[in-house]
């Protein structure tokens, strides 16, 4: 049953026009890496890749925006257009609908952002810097799961999930965590950076995360598990009505 809904959701995501937009978004780091590689920059490639390409673009924008658009659409769009009725009026516990939907959002987010991360890193570092690419790749995979969970939760908790998600990504993670450093412990972006730094083991001058790796992993697991439980509870109470 779970596999069936998972495949159905993948098909829904693949045929959507906005998925093309996300492919375009994933191409931006690759284009930027090509420009850096073949430009005459004096910057250290490892430092540029970690700080500008990954921290400044992939983890800050590409990952959360991809997860946001996919996470809020897998269930949210179905509630919006009424097709959710065909799943919700079946004798299934809600987690059997939630789990494959979340898995589909995570898989597609990961596929897009991971491809972008690995390809752009290989281009910018000219095939070197394996630890940086590995560190950020693992961070993207784990971060994608946490973001997807939170955005799926938003889509069943509010009908303004996209707006709330954008506020979280740009206002909370983009601005507030930059001003009040303590709030970085409540940011999936900083958890992802902590994991990347932990695995890459790069020197501080190249890249240094605020949240320690072990702490980041624990927090990201907590956010994901609590997010899933809350999303399941919200899905049990979700209402579907005809448009007025």
């Amino acid at each position: 049953m779970i596999g069936f809904i998972f495949r159905l959701t993948l098909r829904q995501l693949i045929v959507r026009r906005s998925t093309l937009l996300l492919v375009g978004l994933a191409l931006i780091p690759i284009v930027l890496a090509i420009v850096f590689r073949f430009g005459n920059s004096d910057e250290d490639p490892e430092r540029w890749t970690a700080r500008v390409l990954y921290l400044g673009l992939v983890v800050t924008a590409v990952l959360p925006l991809t997860a946001l658009l996919l996470g809020t659409s897998v269930i949210g769009d179905e509630i919006e257009d009424g097709t959710a009725v065909y799943l919700l009026t079946k004798p299934l516990p809600r987690w059997q609908i939630l789990a494959p939907k979340l898995a589909a959002a995570w898989v597609v987010t990961t596929a897009l952002v991971l491809t972008s991360t690995v390809a752009s890193g290989l281009i910018a570092l000219d095939g070197a810097g394996g630890s940086i690419i590995l560190g950020f790749s693992v961070a993207v995979v784990i971060g994608a799961l946490a973001y997807s969970t939170v955005f799926v939760l938003l889509s069943v908790a509010t009908n303004r999930a996209l707006v709330v998600g954008l506020i979280y990504v740009f206002l909370w993670e983009g601005a507030i965590t930059g001003i009040f450093h303590g709030t970085r412990y409540m940011s999936i972006r900083h958890y992802s950076l902590g994991i990347a730094d932990w695995i890459a083991g790069t020197p501080a001058r190249t890249f240094d995360a605020y949240v320690r790796g072990e702490t980041a992993l624990v927090l990201i697991v907590v956010v994901t598990v609590v997010g899933m439980l809350l999303a399941n509870r919200k899905l049990e109470e979700v209402e579907v009505r005809e448009p007025t």
Partner: protein, 308 residues
């Protein structure tokens, strides 16, 4: 209609509001097997009521029950209940057969292929079963939704405006199919704002107006109430004053007035008026040009029922 114990469907003092807007206001009824028409103008609260009965909306007050169990937060009841929503949306990338098979699979049916084909046969869609539903006409989408809702042979079927987009032949076939299901003991509730649809299909009627239950019971009784109400008609003729004078003495006429050059006739018996009007006009030597009902909108009929 036979109301068993517990009833197939029941609502008790159910209300539902959205902010300050009351969509359904303190409605109670119990339904057994047979076909019930939920009749009312657009925006009356029919869809809200059906959604509460199908567990997709939580009543703000009261409780909706299916076979004695609460409808809200009770996924197990969908083994016995099927819902055909009003919205046209289907998964456009699935073929008709895939769409019905999806329903069969999610119901955990042992032979989903045979069940899907049987349901598609019921709605006469087997010849287009391999076409993507995105390319279906409105009527075909309506039928494939019905097939998906009946694939597990539910004992209760709820349909929200099921005849929208269906041509007369399809409508007739659907009516026959629903009657067959009803004869086999199913409880069927469908909503409609078209009186004739309800008349052809339902034994029992619930009239909803402004979120309230305006009338309920046998269709013919309610139809009589609707037919016997005062009717107003505007009449245009070669001599309005002469025909007005001739009509005023007729027993079925209880009012005639000429306002702004327009003749309005009030009658308590529409059929009797239709019979006498040409005769009276001929005897008076007047030619009738036009006869128009002035208050025949469904809303006015329903308003009359509410006032009763």
């Amino acid at each position: 209609m036979v109301v068993q114990d517990p009833p197939a469907l029941s609502v008790e003092n159910v209300s539902r509001w959205y902010g300050n807007v009351v969509a359904v206001n303190d409605i109670s009824f119990a339904l057994g097997s047979g076909i019930t028409g939920l009749l009312g103008p657009n925006g009356a609260g029919k869809s809200t009521l059906l959604h509460m009965l199908s567990g997709l909306l939580k009543p703000s007050k009261g409780e909706a029950r299916v076979l004695g169990e609460p409808a809200w937060r009770n996924p197990a009841m969908y083994r016995r209940l099927g819902l055909v929503p009003e919205r046209e949306a289907v998964y456009p990338f699935l073929t008709g057969l895939d769409f019905v098979r999806l329903s069969a699979r999610l119901h955990g049916l042992p032979d989903e292929e045979a069940a899907s084909m049987h349901a598609l046969e019921q709605v006469e869609l087997t010849d287009v079963k391999d076409r993507k539903t995105g390319g279906y006409s409105k009527g075909m989408k309506q039928r494939v939704k019905i097939a998906a809702a009946i694939v597990h042979k539910p004992s209760i079927l709820l349909l929200d405006e099921p005849f929208n987009g269906a041509d007369p032949r399809q409508r007739l076939r659907m009516i026959e199919m629903l009657k067959r299901m009803s004869e086999a003991g199913a409880t069927i509730v469908f909503s409609s704002h078209i009186l004739e649809e309800v008349e052809r299909l339902a034994d029992n009627v619930l009239v909803i107006v402004g979120g309230r239950l305006a009338a309920s019971g046998n269709f013919h009784e309610i139809r009589r109430l609707m037919t016997d109400r005062p009717h107003a008609l505007t009449l245009r003729s070669s001599d309005d004053r002469r025909i007005a004078a001739a009509l005023i003495g007729q027993p079925s006429i209880f009012g005639v007035s000429i306002d702004d050059g327009s003749l309005t006739v009030r009658t308590s018996d529409l059929m009797a008026f239709a019979e006498i009007a040409p005769r009276v006009a001929r005897d008076a030597g007047v030619t009738l040009f036009e006869l128009l009902p002035t208050d025949e909108s469904l809303e006015s009929v329903f308003s009359y029922l509410v006032r009763r």
